[in-house]
């Protein structure tokens, strides 16, 4: 069965620090990869996605992610975080239209940025 693992459950950073959140998935075939963000009390919003092409994907708000197929990883990065980046971040994967293209989510990483 497909699964997604986010190893960092809670990350605390100071403003201007660099961020890297880990995401690993288990599936041997072609996958589509997504990062979503959930600000406190709000719904999930798409940060970026990868399905083919350049493995370095740029998203909104200065975020980027790199797909490394050999490592089954899709880590999220931001060179300099802001207090407003405080949120929960979810990595998700789907493998084609199996079960309607359902997304398999990781457990989430809570990011707290200190001003």
């Amino acid at each position: 069965a497909q699964s997604v693992s986010q190893h960092n459950h809670h990350v605390i950073l100071s403003e201007a620090a660099s961020l890297e959140l880990g995401c690993n998935y288990s599936y041997g075939g072609t996958v589509n990869l997504f990062w979503y963000v959930q600000y406190p009390g709000q719904h999930l919003q798409l940060l970026l996605k990868y399905f083919s092409g350049d493995p370095l994907v740029k998203g909104i708000k200065g975020f980027e992610a790199e797909f490394i197929k050999s490592k089954f990883s899709f880590n999220l990065r931001k060179p300099s975080v802001q207090w407003s980046d405080t949120a929960e971040y979810f990595c998700a994967v789907n493998a084609g239209n199996n079960q309607g293209g359902k997304l398999i989510f990781g457990q989430g990483t809570e990011l707290s940025v200190k001003p």
Binding site: L46, K49, G96, Q99, G100, G101, K102, L103, F105, Q107
Partner: protein, 114 residues
Amino acid sequence: DAGITQSPRHKVTETGTPVTLRCHQTENHRYMYWYRQDPGHGLRLIHYSYGVKDTDKGEVSDGYSVSRSKTEDFLLTLESATSSQTSVYFCAIRTGLQSTDTQYFGPGTRLTVL
């Protein structure tokens, strides 16, 4: 927000009562989904729909049923609510027919079962 609304936004109910949550979209997307969000589990798929009257189960479908009689509405019903169904429920739509198309999420419904 892709024109998705959910109602109610908050509900408290008692064990054993039926509950129906509504998801409404304004853009006629074919695919719609119901997920539940629980701490430590991320989001998990309950049911999904790929068209009017076309639905299928997700990974945590026990105790839930769905209906889609119109393109714009996708209803989730808890036949007899239990405390384990206390959760935040998110509806989502997919903007196209391809698995690479983005899923957009509604604002969520917080359900508490006492």
